[in-house]
Amino acid sequence: MAPARAADGANVTAYIIRRLLYAVPILLGVNVITFALFFLVNTPDDIARMQLGVKRVTPEAITKWKQERGYDKPLLYNAGAAGAGKLTQTIFYEKSLRMFVFDFGRADDGRDIAREIRLRMGPSLAVAVPAFFVGLLVYITFALGFAFFRATYVDFWGVVMCVAAMSISSMFYIIGGQYLIGKLWHLVPISGFSGGLDALRFIVLPAAIGVLGSFGASTRLYRTFFLEEIGKDYVRTARAKGLSEVTVLFRHVLKNAMIPILTGVVVAIPFLFIGGLITESFFGIPGLGSYTIDAINSQDFAVVRSMVFIGSLLYIAGLLLTDISYTLVDPRVRLT
């Protein structure tokens, strides 16, 4: 067994390296798209004019604005510079390509974006990670329960409940939760954040609402995964052997249904990011989501651009994780 394991390990490493290399053209594509969006649809002059107020802007003010932010260079090719500077002293190189080494430049308020991102990652993760794992546990439990009681009234009303729950906008869950638990019952603060153990008080409500918000859709989806597995022949064989329904569900169905569940879960990681966006802004958590929303509201394009890049990076990491998690769950899958 041992040599095979080692070979497997080498395989996985080679696979990961290949996937990382594969990610480079994709990130480059993302970069080109954002560059086109931010600098070709509107020239830096347009943006400067809008930021400074559309009417009565002097050309000097625009030049100064562009100079302060480094937008006063040519877009793609700088004929005025010497040597390699022809390509490096351009907006595309300085604003887009530099992101590959995590140099995001400065936000409009003068702060270093990379530092802000490092600082704000903690609070974001503190809310998103518990919500993610508790959510997974809750959805799988309920879905397995409905599958156990399939074709009965428990299952029927469970699905009805799920459909009703998924028809309610996540914003209503947040507003309702804040009103009931924060304002009416005074159990936890309505919004805010603090460090250390005290943070727990601020995390509970947003995390719980995060779980509740996608309860309907996820539970119903997982239920279909379980039912699909239950209909297969090996399950019938297991029953024929005389195994109890509970054993069949936990030992056979659950394990096999983990494959489609994992696919969905890891693909959902960027969407977790979206959920974080409104949750964080409603609850005043100083994470990446509220940072992005603030940047959008104050039209701080440098921050939005950086977040697009970070988001894509996370998504690609998510895809890689999916593939690796397959090998952990399903021994038949080999990474080649």
Partner: protein, 486 residues
């Protein structure tokens, strides 16, 4: 009333969509194999209930898609007629009383007084602090405190009764149609409907209609004298806002997929059918687009488009044009982000189909590629398109609300559920709370999305062969049938 008709960009697309749906219906009606799955949809109780509710929303949305600019009063005499800068729709005409009756500021649902205390000048010249009476809400009452409850009940019950009478007419019409179809007498058909013996679950549809007519009748009767859902900060009727928001939601839910459908179809099928470098290139494009988190791509694109709109005011003569252009852009960008999933599904299906024998045979006969694609592949992937379109609708309606909250949704001047929630949220901290805008947005949104979800499930169950195999209730029914036979 003289007017100048205005057709906004999204109006054109809405008309196109209606034309496409009508043409599809005619096409499907003539072909038995295409009608069969639709018949299964028609037999689903929840699906038909959802469809009934959806149709009510669609009527409101269509009325709101016919726009015009009324001529300004006093400009008839001059040679060149001047038209109002305000773009109205047919729905605005229907709701004219709601639109015109503006209060000063917030007022609670069915209230007769303003929400905020103000200094009122009494006829004798003295001043008191109190809640002033509304200009329109309950203005017909002399002593609102004593008369209001009775008046509200009278109006509500009267309206509901009138609604029930209209419903009875609907019911008889449906019974007559059923009777014609089965050749039975109309009373016989009526009995069969209520015993649920008809193929189409008319009893469920009629019950939905009854609920709808009664509630609608009561709402109309109440809205005549009161503000049913209260008024917002500038005194606008919230019910009017909610009804106007329907079009925005429907446009986002349907046009988004309509706009991107040609791309998804062409690229998805091309990738699967041709394979090789075409496949690689298309896969690269959609993986790249997919890897940008949707909301950020939308935010970036909408922000940049807003800069463009602000920088080119000459292209947009009215505020409605501006808001409409932004709505269209939002649809396109939402389409770009949601298109990749459909593209991947189509690629997989085309990959599978091209290996089948009938397509190999077509190749052997020397049929051209584009003919194979249009004649043999396209019809066989349409069920995926249909399922995706209906399944995506409710998600898009929900997404609009979130995006408008983030500030990258529709134009703030455009009525939408998102802007309603966003404006209402700022008033949450008030004491007593201003809850009615939220409540109205909640009621309308949940009804629309729930109806869409139910209908979408029915469509998926009917069209997706995989679902029917794992539906436990259907499996149970099959087993029972099997037992009965043996």
């Amino acid at each position: 009333m003289p007017f100048q008709s205005v057709v906004l960009w999204t109006d054109w697309l809405v008309y196109l969509l209606v034309a496409v749906i009508a043409a599809t219906m005619v096409y499907v009606r003539r072909r038995e194999h295409l009608r069969a799955p639709w018949r299964r949809v028609a037999q689903s109780v929840s699906g038909m209930v959802g469809l009934t509710v959806l149709l009510a929303f669609v009527v409101a949305g269509l009325l709101d898609s016919v726009h015009f600019r009324p001529r300004l009063a006093g400009s008839e005499a001059s040679a060149k007629a001047a038209y109002s800068i305000e773009v109205l729709s047919v729905l605005d005409l229907v709701l004219e009383p709601l639109r015109a009756r503006r209060e000063k500021t917030y007022s609670a649902p069915l209230a007769t007084e303003l929400y905020a205390r103000e200094t009122i000048e009494l006829p004798d010249g003295s001043q008191v602090r109190g809640y002033p009476r509304l200009k329109y809400g309950g203005a017909q009452l002399k002593d609102p405190e004593r008369e209001r409850a009775a008046d509200v009940w009278r109006a509500a019950l009267g309206g509901a009764a009138a609604g029930a009478v209209i419903w009875l007419a609907f019911g008889l019409l449906i019974a007559a149609v059923v009777a014609r179809g089965s050749g039975a007498h109309i009373s016989q058909a009526w009995r069969r409907i209520w015993r649920a013996e008809t193929d189409v679950p008319w009893h469920a549809i009629l019950l939905t209609l009854l609920l709808f007519c009664a509630l609608g009748g009561a709402a109309i009767a109440l809205a005549a004298n009161y503000h049913l859902f209260g008024t917002d900060k500038v005194g606008q009727d919230v019910l009017y806002q909610a009804l106007k928001s329907i079009r925005t939601a429907l446009v986002i839910g349907t046009l988004t997929t309509l706009v991107m459908l040609p791309f998804a179809l062409a690229l998805g099928i091309a990738a699967g059918y041709f394979g090789g470098w075409v496949d690689d290139a298309i896969q690269y494009v959609y993986t790249t687009l997919n890897s940008i988190p949707g909301v950020l791509l939308i935010a970036a694109a909408v922000l940049m488009m807003q800069v463009y709109i602000d920088g080119h005011p000459e292209l947009f003569p009215t505020a409605a044009d501006r808001a409409d252009f932004r709505l269209l852009i939002l649809c396109i960008i939402l389409g770009v982000t949601s298109w990749t999933g459909l593209c991947r599904l189509l690629r997989g299906e085309a990959l599978k189909l091209k290996e089948l024998e009938y397509i190999q045979a077509a190749h052997a006969f020397g049929v051209r590629h584009h003919r194979i694609i249009t004649r043999h592949i396209l019809p066989n992937v349409m069920y995926i398109v249909l399922i995706t379109v209906v399944m995506e609708f409710s998600g898009l309606v929900l997404a609009e609300a979130v995006l408008s909250y983030v500030g990258v949704g529709v134009d703030p001047s455009m009525n939408s559920f998102g802007t309603m929630i966003n404006n209402a949220r700022l008033e949450m901290a008030r004491e007593p709370m201003v809850w009615w805008s939220l409540a109205a947005a909640f009621v309308f949104m949940v009804t629309l999305v729930l109806a869409a979800n139910l209908f979408a499930d029915a469509v998926r169950d009917a069209f997706d062969p995989r679902v029917r195999m794992i539906n436990p209730l259907a499996a149970k029914a099959r087993r029972r049938e099997g037992l009965a036979k043996s």
